[in-house]
Structures are given as structure tokens and as C-alpha cells.
């Protein structure tokens, strides 16, 4: 499914996704939290065909409170598993807008990502797809829901995921 939308909309959505990728790679935590709507959620399902998050196992399912908790943890001076910390680098592409609400300007958009995580002499690769529900506000887009489906969803994981992919 793909929507017909203006070049301006496509560009604005792509810029938002690229900036989000940069923010999480560079650990700009205040900027990360500011990307989300007040009731926004970051969701990584535990299976590829999972339809709902509530009441089911998930790899990530976090609101702003839980995201802030995660940030407080990785910034804590005693967070020994952050010494050294992981370094992330990702590319976001294949940005396809699925729908644009004519009245509100809200967007549903899917995209692909490929990322490298480096930590402790070891490099891991993740690939997958994003699906963002973006809310149009006076101040630009905010994330209502970000769904992240990683290719290796069933693992096994060689280490946990300390921050968001």
C-alpha cells in the first residue's frame, strides 16, 4: 500500500526519519524524547505477525516514562555495561508513505533500516523495517507509534539490546 502525496510531504517525512536515526545513533536523549507524542510508544514485537502489543510478550514496548528510565540507566555512572558503550550507525531508506490524513496531516509511513552496532571489539548487524504513525503538530511531526520489526526477531540474541534500534 502506498499513498499519493506531495513531494513536500515525502521530503518532510524523510527528513524526520533521517533526523530520528541520527538522534538515536548519536545518543541525543532529550531530542529523542521530544520526537514522541505525549502518549507515544516505541514498539518492537516479539513475532513478525504480531498485531497488538498490549497483554503480549514484546521485545520493546515503551512509553515516555519507560524510555526516560532507560536513558537514566544508560547515563548512570554505575552502568558498567555501558563502559564501553555501544556505538550505532544506521541507514534508513525505502521510505513509503502509506497514508496521509487530508484533515489532520497525520502520516503512516514504512521504511527499511540497516544498522551496525559496535561494542567491545564486536560488531552486530540488524536489519528490519520501521512503521511510523506520525502526528502532525504546529511544531512538526511527533511519533504516535513506532513499530520496529527486526529480521532476526526470534533470535537468538548474542547480547541484549540496551537502547532502541
Amino acid at each position: 500500500m502506498a499513498a499519493i502525496c506531495s513531494v513536500e510531504t515525502q521530503l518532510a517525512v524523510e527528513r524526520f526519519l533521517y533526523r530520528q536515526a541520527e538522534i538515536v545513533d548519536d545518543r541525543e536523549w532529550d531530542a529523542w524524547l521530544a520526537l514522541f507524542a505525549e502518549d507515544g510508544k516505541y514498539w518492537m514485537p516479539a513475532t513478525a505477525d504480531q498485531e497488538v502489543a498490549d497483554g503480549q510478550p514484546n521485545i520493546f514496548y515503551e512509553d515516555l516514562f519507560l524510555m526516560e528510565m532507560r536513558i537514566k540507566r544508560v547515563c548512570h555512572p554505575y552502568a558498567h555495561s555501558q563502559a564501553p558503550t555501544q556505538r550505532l550507525s544506521r541507514v534508513v531508506s525505502n521510505v513509503i508513505i502509506e497514508s496521509e490524513d487530508g484533515a489532520t496531516g497525520d502520516i503512516v509511513v514504512r521504511s527499511k533500516f540497516h544498522l551496525v552496532e559496535y561494542r567491545l571489539d564486536d560488531q552486530r548487524y540488524f536489519g528490519g523495517k520501521y512503521r511510523h504513525h506520525l502526528k502532525q503538530t504546529d511544531d512538526g511531526y511527533r511519533i504516535q507509534l513506532q513499530r520496529v520489526d527486526i529480521a532476526n526477531v526470534e533470535g537468538p540474541f548474542g547480547y541484549v539490546l540496551q537502547t532502541w534500534l
Binding site: 510478550p57 514484546n58 521485545i59 516514562f65 528510565m69 540507566r73 544508560v74 547480547y159 541484549v160 540496551q162
Partner: protein, 439 residues
């Protein structure tokens, strides 16, 4: 090497210290597979993982690849995942439904869920050569299989104690305490397995599970962050934060609290840590659970069940079980320095939804691949393994905390404090017994 050229594994284990080789040496590891994982009772899965005929899940017992399947008659079977024809794995998927029969992808030999041969293609090639109904042409069943309250185990040895005897009081408590909390006396597994590789020896994980000194140190950052957000949540919303925040904040309980816990060691290495979490608050969920159990069993039995004070049980050598939170982690050694953990949680049949939500919250915060708790444990495990793999720098690992102070009564060992290293000493007593009993 404590004993020159000839190695006696028993010498690696002393009353209050163990030699680093038990964690890092390839030969010791191979011997552990032979003497422990290929002989003792190893957890396979829960029968509710395979609810329908044709359902199967695969797993490991030591180096062996195993299948748990459900037959058309409802029976659960544990088989080696190997085609008797040319030896290929039969099931390449982690789980699925095989329909009426397993079908080998190489030459399409077909097998019923109990392993017996169903069909061989172009069988004229065997006419007058073999009888393919001969058991040697069936998939091989685990040497022994047992079921304790729905939890399926296998032993790859025809000899040894039966399952219930092997588990004894100490390990049976893990499963009894889960099932008893259900008004129907049964647990049902949630069909989701998180799998995480630990870059460390399997024993390091089991030891850590009952190590009550480490949480406040290892998990300091997570405990602090959770406590801070618990307060912020309340300030901002007026409501108490969800229970998961408390689970995380509990990791930084003061040492006096950990000190007041008990650890109990049983024969065969099974070991318990008695409860520390306030899992019987006066909230509506707990009250509804009490009511459901009272309806089923009466008030006195309800009180007995919910007062059971077992927080964590090691079912040696393969499981870490947290009954009041319905969590189960199975250990699958893949090498001396590599361990797969299979992480599950359960519903209690007939219990209120909120009891499941509590289990799910713990499963998410502590046991999921995004856990902020095991992130720190796994980091420690890797560092421990790397330290133990060195040739120099010392040979022994200290298990001296409160050594010589345990009390033993009828084969059951009690520590003087929850922070004692008795659990490790108890597990190593079994290790020494298992590694030397055949010699």
C-alpha cells in the same frame, strides 16, 4: 592442575573454592556433558507447548538435538531430531505442526509423532533387504522421559533415579508452587521463547541466580533509574507506577534485606532462595486471586499456597525457576564459554488476568531481549569467563562467604544469611558427585 598428569575432577571442587578449569576447560566441559547433561534429568518443555496432534518444539540436551511432539493419541514424546536413514535433522524449524507425520527433507521418510516409521518412498528398494518397520529404522526416543505436573523432562541414560526422586522436595517445589497458585492446579505456557546467548559457562548463570550479594551492585543503575521514575510517574499522573517499576527498583534493596533472606540447599544440587518481593499486597488483583483459590481449595489451603515463600529455585543442572512470577529459564550449554538460555513464562489456569499481567511485566523487564537487568548480568558473565580463561593470575575461585557456617539437617542445608555462598557450594557438591560417581 591440582593432580599432575592425571586429572580427578573431584579435586577441582573443595569445600570453599573451585578450580577455574571447571568453567573454562574444554575437557572438563565434555566430561560434564557425558556425566551430567547426558545422564541426569534435563528439562525439555511444558506439555502445553504442544497442545495439538502434530505439534512439536525442538531443543537441546547437551550436544543432542531433541524434539518434543504430540501424537494423535494425545501422548507427548521426546525424540532425537535425527532421521534413521541417513542421519539428517528432521525438524529444521524451532517449532511447528508436522501434520500426521514428520517428513525428512532429504528422501521423504515419514515418521509418526512417536518416532515410528509411517512410510518410506519407493520401498521396493528395500524388499528382501530390510524390514523398514524394524525399530532401528524409527526415530530414536529419549532413553527415559518423565512428566512432573506438565513439565516434561528427559534423561539420555537408561539408568539412575526416576524423575520425581531426582527432583526431590527441593526441585519439585518449583513446579508445585507454580501449579498450586492456579485454581485449577495447572500452568499453561505462553508460546513465546526468548533466546539469549551467554558468552560464559552454564554454571555462572545458575550461580548468579541465587547470588543475593550482586543485585544491589550489578544492577545499581537500573534500580536507581526505576526508583526515580516510579516517583516521577506518581508525581505526574497521581497514580502508582505499574508493578514493573517496583520489580526493577527491588534490585537495589538494602543489604539488610538480602541478609535476612534464606537459601536452602537440597540433594542433587537443587537450591532455593526464599522470597523477598512483596507479592501479596492488598491490591484488587491479589484479592481476586485469593478469592479464586479460596473457592477452589478453601481459605486455609489458599493461605498456605500464597504464603509459600520460594522466590527462586535452581533445578540442577538445567533450570532457573521463579514460581511466584511464573518465570522459567532453561540452560543449554553450547560450549565451555557459550550457553543458550531459553526463557519462558506461564499463565495460571483460572487465575485473574492481573496475575498474568504481573508475570508478563517481569518477563518484559527482566527477561526480554531489551532487559535492563540482564544487560548487566551478561556483561559480568562475559567478563568472568574471560578472566577465568587466563592461564595466569590465579587458579581458584572463592566461595568462602559464610563457609563452614551452614547447618545441615537430613541432607538439607540452610545458610545463615541470604548472602551466603552456600548455593554455589551446594551446586558444586552435586557437580563433584555427578562427575566422579561413575569412576
Amino acid at each position: 592442575m591440582p593432580d599432575g598428569q592425571e586429572v580427578h575432577y573431584g579435586d577441582y571442587v573443595q569445600d570453599d573454592r573451585v578450580h577455574k578449569a571447571v568453567y573454562a576447560d574444554q575437557a572438563v566441559y565434555e566430561s560434564e556433558l557425558d556425566n551430567i547433561f547426558h545422564k541426569k534429568w534435563i528439562y525439555i518443555g511444558h506439555e502445553s507447548q504442544v497442545p495439538n496432534p502434530g505439534d512439536y518444539w525442538t531443543t537441546w540436551v547437551g550436544k543432542e538435538r531433541m524434539i518434543m511432539s504430540r501424537g494423535s493419541d494425545g501422548a507427548v514424546h521426546v525424540l532425537y531430531n535425527r532421521c534413521p536413514h541417513r542421519g539428517s535433522l528432521i525438524c529444521n524449524n524451532e517449532h511447528g505442526n508436522a501434520g500426521k507425520a514428520f517428513r525428512c527433507p532429504y528422501h521423504a521418510w515419514q515418521f509418526y509423532m512417536d518416532g515410528s516409521v509411517r512410510q518410506v518412498p519407493m520401498k521396493q528398494g528395500y524388499d528382501g533387504v530390510i524390514d523398514y518397520k524394524d525399530p532401528q529404522f524409527s526415530m530414536v526416543r529419549a532413553e527415559r522421559q518423565g512428566n512432573y505436573r506438565g513439565f516434561i523432562f528427559a534423561s539420555l541414560s537408561t539408568e539412575g533415579e526416576d524423575l520425581e526422586t531426582y527432583l526431590g522436595q527441593g526441585a519439585r517445589a518449583a513446579f508445585d508452587d507454580i501449579c498450586n497458585r492456579s485454581p485449577q492446579g495447572e500452568a499453561e505456557i505462553v508460546a513465546n521463547c526468548f533466546r539469549i546467548i551467554q558468552h560464559s559457562n552454564w554454571k555462572i548463570f545458575l550461580e548468579n541466580q541465587l547470588d543475593a550479594v550482586h543485585p544491589s551492585i550489578t544492577h545499581h543503575s537500573t534500580g536507581d533509574a526505576a526508583a526515580a521514575m516510579q516517583k516521577k510517574y506518581k508525581d505526574k499522573t497521581g497514580d502508582d507506577a505499574p508493578m514493573g517499576y517496583q520489580f526493577l527498583a527491588d534490585f537495589t534493596l538494602p543489604f539488610e534485606k538480602w541478609d535476612s533472606l534464606q537459601t536452602v540447599g537440597f540433594p542433587n544440587g537443587h537450591t532455593q532462595l526464599t522470597g523477598y518481593m512483596g507479592l501479596r499486597p492488598r491490591d484488587p488483583v491479589t484479592l481476586a486471586h485469593e478469592a479464586a483459590l479460596t473457592d477452589a481449595y478453601g481459605a486455609e489451603r489458599m493461605d498456605e499456597i500464597l504464603s509459600t515463600n520460594v522466590h527462586h529455585v535452581i533445578v540442577y543442572p538445567c533450570l532457573s525457576v521463579q514460581p511466584p512470577l511464573q518465570q522459567l529459564r532453561a540452560v543449554r550449554p553450547l560450549g565451555p564459554n557459550k550457553t543458550l538460555t531459553e526463557i519462558w513464562h506461564f499463565r495460571l489456569k483460572g487465575a485473574p488476568d492481573g496475575i498474568y499481567e504481573r508475570a508478563l511485566a517481569y518477563y518484559y523487564h527482566v527477561n526480554s531481549p531489551s532487559t535492563m537487568v540482564n544487560a548487566d548480568d551478561l556483561n559480568n558473565f562475559r567478563a568472568i569467563q574471560e578472566g577465568l580463561a587466563m592461564v595466569g593470575g590465579g587458579d581458584w575461585v572463592s566461595l568462602h562467604r559464610n563457609a563452614g557456617q551452614d547447618t545441615v539437617d537430613n541432607g538439607v542445608t540452610h545458610s545463615v544469611t541470604g548472602m551466603s555462598e552456600m548455593p554455589m557450594r551446594n551446586m558444586f557438591a552435586a557437580w563433584k558427585q555427578f562427575m566422579t560417581e561413575g569412576n
